[in-house]
């Protein structure tokens, strides 16, 4: 089957931090996760935007919790996309969220139409995998080609981020063996990545300046300057840090295309914490 942007849809969940999905591409949709403060539950981005969320995080006595979309949420979205022959449903890894399980349960009612894809990554990087799929849909592609793309993306995409404190990752249990990597004292900044669906600590440095120098070093060591290099940047209520990263990317790799600069939404923000900043890169082959 020749897959095109006319016959194929892309569904993301809100951990891709790309709420404008449906506005940008008519064949795209975003299914929100839920964030909860006490008894009040909100749909990520739709009922609680990032700005209000970080405000709330500063003032609320309760700490937020998150939950995956229900299978019914996915069923509703897949039904809405009835006019399409194929749906790529691209999600945050199973090890970090049950989201893809809900998607799979819902997908069963749609025969072979829906393909649930574990992106192996989080936030803007999920959206970037979507962009790479969309570029291929726009020129015509096949399931096999998309499978190969996903595989290559999982193997080659780069992701680095740092948090102000590991407290949020720990509280949400999203940190695995990074737990012992703590060190809140002494301005220690962990340099983290996501590998095999797990948050992995790569290194610890002291101070924001060194964390930034580390980002720069690793980015320039693992990329070359070409238009095929795609970059995404995400931050949690730290726009100045995101801007600093954007400048760094532009300086190191002037030809690279920064595809997305976004704020972490309430769900990802709940687990990363304010002050988080990170970036993602993928060298596409076309």
């Amino acid at each position: 089957m020749n897959l095109t942007a006319q016959n194929t849809a892309v569904v993301l969940d809100s951990t891709a931090d790309f709420p404008e999905a449906a506005e940008r591409f008519p064949n795209w949709r975003m299914v929100p996760l839920y964030v909860r403060f006490g008894d009040e539950s909100y749909r990520d981005y739709i009922e609680l935007g990032p700005h209000e969320f970080y405000e709330r995080l500063r003032t609320s006595p309760t700490t937020p919790a998150t939950s995956q979309p229900t299978p019914g949420d996915f069923t509703a979205t897949y039904t809405e996309l009835a006019g399409y022959d194929r749906i790529f449903s691209i999600h945050i890894p199973e090890s970090l969220s049950g989201t893809i399980q809900s998607a799979r349960v819902a997908a069963e009612d749609f025969g072979d139409k829906v393909r649930a894809i574990d992106s192996g990554t989080a936030s803007a990087a999920i959206a970037m995998l979507g962009f790479a799929v969309q570029r291929r849909l726009e020129r015509g592609t096949t399931d096999e080609e998309v499978d190969a793309l996903v595989q290559r993306f999982k193997e080659n995409a780069g992701l680095l981020f740092t948090v102000d404190t590991l407290e949020f990752l720990q509280r949400g249990g999203r940190i695995g063996r990074a737990a012992k990597f703590a060190g809140q004292l002494l301005h220690v900044k962990p340099i983290l990545t996501i590998e095999g669906g797990e948050v992995i600590p790569l290194k610890r440095v002291r101070g924001a300046a060194k964390a930034f120098a580390e980002f720069q070093q690793q980015f320039s060591d693992s990329t070359i300057d070409t238009e095929r290099l795609r970059v995404g940047i995400a931050h949690a209520d730290a726009p100045e840090r995101a801007e600093q990263l954007r400048k760094m990317v532009a300086g190191e790799r002037p030809k690279a295309q920064v595809e997305i600069v976004t704020t972490l939404g309430a769900v990802v923000g709940t687990h990363a914490g304010p002050g988080t900043v990170g970036f993602f890169w993928f060298m596409d082959d076309e």
């Binding site: 695995g176 063996r177 012992k180 703590a182 060190g183 809140q184 004292l185 002494l186 301005h187 220690v188 797990e198 600590p201 290194k203 610890r204 440095v205 002291r206 101070g207 924001a208 300046a209 060194k210």
Partner: protein, 521 residues
């Protein structure tokens, strides 16, 4: 096949299983060090046989016995030392050394082990040594000693498997006895050496149940071991007194030397009982609660291997805490006026459970003894030559327990090269330093070991040191306040004005003699 080769074979086998045995350890207290203790005890024997001048079997047997007694660590090590004694007593005189003699040696070992323990408990390494002796007695004594050893490996494995049903604590934890497991590894090593081929491990062991780490802690905190050397020592007397102080008591040896092992909250009182009767040596006091926490952390990791630990020489409670939060696990108290000995450092290295160690001397006067300790220690040790506490702190930030000591050290040394350090102290006498007249009692500021400021005002001297450290562009300034806790608000405020991009971190180090330690990186 010499006694040395046998000892080495046993040691190698234990070493290979050391971590696994540590993790099995739930009885008598889950302090997670049985594998380590047995390995170190076996190593003491191998080392003694390595260096001995004796050549005849009886003399070698005596040396092995003595080495085991002196080197015994922990409960399990002490029982092993008795097993070695009972074994060596028979082997020393047996001629020819055949299956029959070996069988008698195991019986001797078993009897000696039971004698050493006040209230023998079944389901422990005692059970395993006894059943090994019984199995040896049942077998055909016309086979060679090597063939018998191979048979005993299997018998030991079966006996070990049964320990789980004998002790509730083992059954609840879903594990076999750690000391018994060590004993089987020793026999496996002996058999492999005797036959010249590896004896494969029997059935895949069950993985350790997570319940094991929730076993209750010993009600006592310190595992205390030492040797009393004297004249006319009486075991029952010592036991009577030591029993008042705690539990897990073991006293073994002869009237000239007794090894004591006790779990107690009052290690000092235990030592005093020793010094009353003779001289004490080989003192080791380990905080079992810390060991247990350490082990829990290790078991809970997704990736179970802690490859490398950091041993840090520190002074000041705050400084110690800082090193601890950054992953140092073993500490030696010491600094400018109190340099630890090489032996202290070796002991700290040996206390770590990891295969490799990075040692941070944190003082220029400690670097040489640290290097000496690295050569003497029984495991690979990399000295990262930090010459001050703030330098060591900067270095340990890059530490990752899952990498080798070598990899860690390379990175830590790189960090050190990019750190400038300074200190503010009080001159203890009139002096002339670097062209500066320094009156007694004045504040003296040093940057990278050079006197750069002197004066009556702490703030002014500190400020000059900071400016000197910031001559090259730096992003991060660390200030460690000494035990007198000088007021730093004014200094920090003026720094924020003059260096708006500089991150400043103030911590209570608590070190004596130096109101302020600084680093810039």
């Amino acid at each position: 096949m010499t006694p040395l080769e046998l000892a080495r074979g046993a040691l190698a086998s234990l070493e290979a299983s050391r971590q696994r045995i540590d993790d099995l350890n739930v009885y008598p207290v889950p302090d997670g060090d049985t594998g380590t203790n047995l390995t170190l005890t076996a190593r003491a024997i191998a080392d003694a046989l390595e260096t001995t001048e004796s050549t005849d079997r009886p003399a070698l047997a005596k040396e092995a016995t003595r080495a085991a007694l002196m080197g015994a660590r922990g409960n399990s090590g002490v029982i092993l030392s008795q097993i070695v004694r009972g074994f060596a007593d028979v082997v020393g005189d047996a001629e020819p050394f055949d299956a029959g003699a070996l069988s008698r040696a195991f019986r001797g070992a078993s009897d000696a082990a039971y004698r050493a323990v006040r209230r023998p408990v079944e389901g422990t390494m005692l059970t395993v040594i006894r059943e090994l002796a019984e199995a040896a007695e049942r077998t055909d004594h016309s086979q060679s000693a090597a063939e018998l050893l191979v048979e005993l490996v299997r018998a030991g494995e079966e006996s070990l498997a049964r320990t789980q049903d004998m002790l509730d604590v083992l059954r609840d934890a879903g594990v076999v006895d750690a000391g018994g497991a060590g004993l089987v590894e020793i026999v496996r090593g002996l058999a492999a050496t005797a036959t010249g081929e590896p004896i494969p491990e029997a059935p895949p062991r069950e993985s350790l149940g997570f319940d094991a780490i929730h076993q209750e802690l010993s009600e006592y905190r310190y595992c205390t071991t030492f040797v009393i050397e004297g004249d006319g020592l009486v075991r029952e007397e010592l036991e009577g007194e030591l029993e008042q102080l705690g539990d897990s008591l073991l006293v073994v040896g002869d009237f000239t030397a007794m090894k004591v092992h006790v779990h107690t909250d009052e290690p000092g009182s235990a030592l005093a009982i020793g010094t009353k009767r003779g001289t004490i040596a080989g003192v080791e006091i380990a905080n079992m609660h810390a060991q247990t926490q350490h082990r829990s952390a290790r078991l809970l990791e997704v990736v179970p291997d802690v490859k490398t630990e950091v041993v840090a020489v520190v002074v000041g409670d705050g400084n110690r805490r800082l090193f601890e939060t950054l992953g140092a696990t073993s500490f030696v108290e010491g600094g400018q006026t109190m340099n630890p000995s090489t032996a202290d450092l070796v002991a700290a290295v040996e206390r770590t459970g990891a295969a490799e160690v990075v040692l941070l001397p944190n003082n220029s006067n400690v670097i040489m003894s640290a290097e000496q300790a690295a050569r003497l220690a029984g495991k690979p040790v990399q000295v990262v030559a930090s010459d001050s506490i703030p330098a060591g702190l900067a270095a340990i930030v890059s530490f990752d327990p899952q990498r080798s000591a070598d990899e860690n050290a390379t990175e830590m040394r790189e960090v050190l090269e990019a750190v400038a350090t300074g200190e503010v102290t009080v001159a203890s006498r009139d002096a002339q330093l670097n062209g500066l007249a320094v009156p007694k009692g004045a504040f003296l500021g040093l940057a990278d070991g050079e006197a750069v400021a002197v004066g009556e005002s702490f703030d002014e001297v500190a400020r000059q040191v900071v400016e000197r450290l910031l001559v090259e562009p730096r992003g991060m300034l660390t200030l460690l306040r000494g035990e007198e806790a000088p007021e730093l608000d004014a200094l920090v405020a003026s720094l924020a004005k003059q260096h708006p991009d500089l991150e400043v971190d103030v911590q209570d180090g608590g070190q004596p003699h130096y109101p302020l330690l600084l680093s810039a990186e």
